[in-house]
């Protein structure tokens, strides 16, 4: 399984997302160190990679959350938690479901 966390330094939420991702992986009996970190550094790179904002978590290349109209670019990504609240990080259950689906 390939797990990537794609981030941009202008948004402070990637450390929290990484911590959450490590916890979910450990809960599932997987090695948290499998997470690959990839930084997006320019508008051009964001456009080329269709980067939907920081942080974005990909499991075997698939986003753990729906795009929900999120624009491509260097920005903090807006997630919706399962109770509808906006959040700078994905719902933990969405991350868990994406990992379980890839097992």
């Amino acid at each position: 399984m390939r797990v990537e966390l794609v981030w941009w330094e202008g948004c402070p939420s990637h450390p929290e997302a990484l911590r959450q991702l490590h916890e979910v992986l450990a809960d599932e009996g997987l090695d948290p160190e499998i997470v690959e970190l990839r930084e997006v550094v320019s508008d051009e790179q964001a456009e080329r990679e269709r980067f939907l904002g920081s942080p974005t978590i990909l499991v075997d290349g698939r986003d753990v959350a729906p795009a929900d109209g999120q624009p491509v670019g260097l920005a903090c990504r807006v997630y919706r938690l399962r109770d509808g609240r906006p959040s700078p990080t994905p719902d933990r259950d969405d991350v868990r479901d994406a990992i379980r689906s890839a097992l």
Binding site: C11, P12, P71, A75, C76, V78, Y79, P88
Partner: protein
């Protein structure tokens, strides 16, 4: 360089989504915020509730972001958001030139400044300590504002603003 607690904030007047122009008047809470940032969105309802609960203070929400790079923060998008919400209890101002944000030294959305009636900064920082916990209820902002309205100095005058960086023009 940011305004520090005790500094006098500059006077300003900015256009609001309702067509008026607004600025500080009396005890004023200035919240730099925007449409596209998840931190600003997460704290939004708490800030609106604080405004509803403090009618004796003036609340101003200001969007300072570069709308060319972030169209979700354009003046049109600001107007549409307020209309979609059925109105806000505070005006939503557009700082197109970013001069007000620069004068305050705003760093993030949100970034909260509580000014006394002499426009001196009496609180600067986050609304409360956890964007992910609605139960916090913008308590840092509320405590500071209650103190200023009572003619006192806030016990916690400064906290670290947390959120998305201000999107400055290039």
């Amino acid at each position: 360089m940011s305004l520090r607690v005790g500094d006098e904030a500059p006077p300003f007047e900015l256009p609001a989504t309702d067509g008026s122009r607004r600025g500080p008047d009396g005890v004023t809470v200035v919240v730099f915020t925007c449409n596209h940032c998840p931190y600003a969105l997460a704290w939004h309802d708490r800030i609106l509730d604080a405004a509803r609960d403090h009618e004796s203070a003036r609340f101003l929400a200001i969007c300072p972001n570069d709308a060319e790079r972030y169209p979700a923060d354009s003046f049109d998008a600001m107007r549409e958001r307020v209309e979609r919400d059925g109105g806000w209890p505070l005006p939503y101002l557009h700082d197109e030139s970013q001069e007000v944000a620069r004068a305050f030294g705003a760093r993030t959305t949100p970034d909260v400044f509580v000014l006394d009636a002499d426009r001196r900064v009496r609180y600067r920082g986050a609304p409360d300590g956890d964007h992910s916990d609605p139960a916090q209820g913008a308590v840092w902002l509320r405590e500071a504002l209650d103190a200023v309205l009572a003619g006192e100095r806030p016990a916690r005058p400064e906290t670290e603003p947390v959120g998305c960086s201000i999107k400055w023009r290039r």
